[in-house]
């Protein structure tokens, strides 16, 4: 028999050990809770029927639901395709092992959130499975980044192929041009040819010439896009550049009933840009405007060139708006106009390259491009470029 004193001492010791263990347990729990609450990952626990038991703060922000809203709901119902999650859960519970899968969930607002889900079975002390614990990582941004990379890569590949094809096409096109020129000069003074036939041949030769010119336009535009040249930026006056561009287009404007209105800020407006590229951009926009006005067929169309300063962003920008009173762009076309080879003009009139190339140039020059259009009323393209 032990004396009460020793028993007391033993009890005291046991108590002390217990509170030490309790303390350690608390610390561990606090630590885990801390991790759970601060993790950006969505950590959840569900019972055998997939009903949510707990849900971390990271989950709330990832999917937009509060814990209260989720209590009693099933995890699979949050997935875009419930079946995907269900089959993963079955796999986890039946095999009693940790499984991993990419599953898309639906945010409270409806947008899709791509997640990598790791699901593990939860067992009690006797080894019986009583539920599941899961960790989901939001990989939407990563996925989008990966898709962008693939797209850029594919575009670069298309560019390389196009450049090769275009170079190869240039020569036969040149040969066709030369041969037709030759035929023209032979027919020009061939004997025994009626005047009628001679005219007929001349007209046909002219048509061949126009078509080879059309091929050249496409190849040149494509090559100027593919060409990886450095930007030759300098400080230049936007007003002067716009006026020069209008001069360039005089032949086109002469045969159109269109009035050019300048709505410029007072004095020169300097931007830091590549003159040649920017000129190409404005030629594109203004020829499109002329085309839209012609298409509408009304008397007295108007193209307005406006400049303004925009200080709303991080750095001051010069805005250049090109508006026309033409046919406008339908909602459907507005979505696609920056796609390569997308053109609403009849065959031969448009290459489907002007706008995507222009947008690309503006982007490379550190600017931005926006569009406003009302079908039947007109279109405004607004270019913003950094002030020099």
């Amino acid at each position: 028999m032990e004396s009460p004193e020793t028993l007391q001492a033993k009890l005291k010791k046991a108590n002390e050990a217990l509170s030490e263990k309790k303390e350690a347990l608390h610390r561990a729990r606090d630590y885990l809770e801390n991790v759970l609450e601060n993790s950006r990952d969505m950590v959840f626990r569900a019972d055998l029927d997939d009903v949510l038991v707990s849900f971390s703060k990271g989950g709330e922000s990832a999917l937009g639901y509060t814990r209260e809203e989720l209590s009693g709901r099933k995890m699979k119902d949050l997935a875009e395709h419930p079946h995907d999650f269900e089959s993963l859960a079955v796999q986890c519970l039946e095999k009693k092992e940790t499984v991993r899968e990419e599953i898309s969930f639906q945010h409270k607002t409806g947008r899709i959130v791509y997640c990598e889900v790791i699901l593990s079975p939860l067992t009690n002390t006797r080894g019986k499975v009583i539920g599941m614990a899961g960790v989901c990582r939001d990989i939407t941004a990563w996925k989008k980044f990966k898709e962008d990379l693939i797209r850029v890569d594919r575009l670069a590949e298309v560019g390389r192929i196009a450049s090769g094809i275009v170079h190869e096409l240039n020569n036969p096109v040149a040969v066709i041009g030369e041969i037709s020129g030759w035929v023209g000069s032979v027919a020009g003074d061939a004997e025994g040819l009626s005047e009628e036939d001679r005219e007929e041949i001349k007209t046909s030769i002219r048509h061949i010439g126009e078509q080879t010119q059309r091929c050249r336009n496409i190849t040149h535009q494509l090559l100027s896009f593919v060409r990886e040249s450095k930007l030759a930026t300098s400080s230049l006056d936007a007003h002067e550049l716009l006026k020069e561009t209008i001069n360039l287009l005089t032949p086109e404007l002469k045969f159109t009933d269109v009035e050019i209105v300048y709505n410029f800020l007072e004095g020169p407006v300097f931007i830091n840009s590549d003159k040649q590229l920017l000129e190409q951009v404005f030629v594109n926009f203004i020829s499109n405007a002329v085309y839209a006005v012609k298409e509408k067929g009304e008397k007295r169309g108007r193209i307005t060139l406006e400049t303004f300063l925009d200080d709303s962003g991080d750095s001051p920008m010069v805005g250049i708006a090109i508006s026309d009173t033409g046919v406008g762009i339908s909602r459907k076309d507005q979505k696609s106009i920056y796609e390569y080879f997308y053109s609403t003009k009849p065959p031969g009139k448009g290459t489907g390259l002007g706008l995507p190339i222009s947008r690309n140039i503006i982007k490379n020059l550190g600017g931005s491009l926006s569009l406003e259009s009302e079908p039947g009323e007109g279109t405004t393209f607004t270019v913003r470029l950094p002030v020099s």
């Binding site: 170079h167 240039n170 040149a174 040969v175 041009g177 041969i179 030759w182 000069s185 040149h220 040249s229």
Partner: protein, 164 residues
């Protein structure tokens, strides 16, 4: 102004059909034309015959346009070279042969533009040649040679400059 038949044009391009039709057209206009399909062939031809203007394609298998015009210039220093370049290669072309070429033309060339360039190049060549010839004739006069020596030197000079 000179007659077109006085203008001797050397064409060098590996695109044979193009050269064929281009030379046909130029011949019909009255130019004297020799068609060749490589830099090697062109230099060989230039060793035997004199030319005023050479039209050289920049990109050719074997000897390229830059090398070809360098060699041609060595054989016939007054020969004016017009270089045809593809899109995007004009910068490199300018760097490698800035001094040598009379002009660069972007392919595909426009025929009227080419004809104009050939005429300009010819005028340029004649001017250069005349100026130089005059200088050398003056040198001979100043040299104090006797009448016989002077005659000999002059005929030698005539031969060099292709003046008969």
């Amino acid at each position: 102004m000179s007659e077109k038949s006085d203008i001797r044009v050397l064409l060098i391009d590996d695109e044979e059909t193009l050269v064929e039709y281009l030379s046909k057209r130029l011949l019909r206009e009255g130019y004297t034309v020799k068609a060749t399909f490589s830099g090697e062939e062109a230099t060989e031809v230039a060793n035997n015959d004199d030319f005023d203007v050479a039209i050289v394609d920049l990109k050719m298998p074997g000897m390229d346009g830059v090398e070809t015009q360098k060699r041609l210039k060595k054989i016939q220093p007054f020969l004016q070279c017009v270089v045809l370049t593809g899109h995007g290669t004009i910068d490199t072309a300018l760097e490698s042969g800035k001094k040598e070429a009379f002009k660069y033309l972007l392919k595909p060339i426009e025929y009227d533009n080419l004809v104009e360039t050939i005429n300009e190049a010819y005028e340029h060549k004649v001017q250069l040649q005349n100026a130089r010839f005059k200088d050398e004739v003056e040198d001979i006069y100043r040299s104090g040679l006797g009448a016989r020596g002077m005659k000999k030197a002059m005929s030698k000079l005539r031969k060099i400059y292709g003046i008969s």
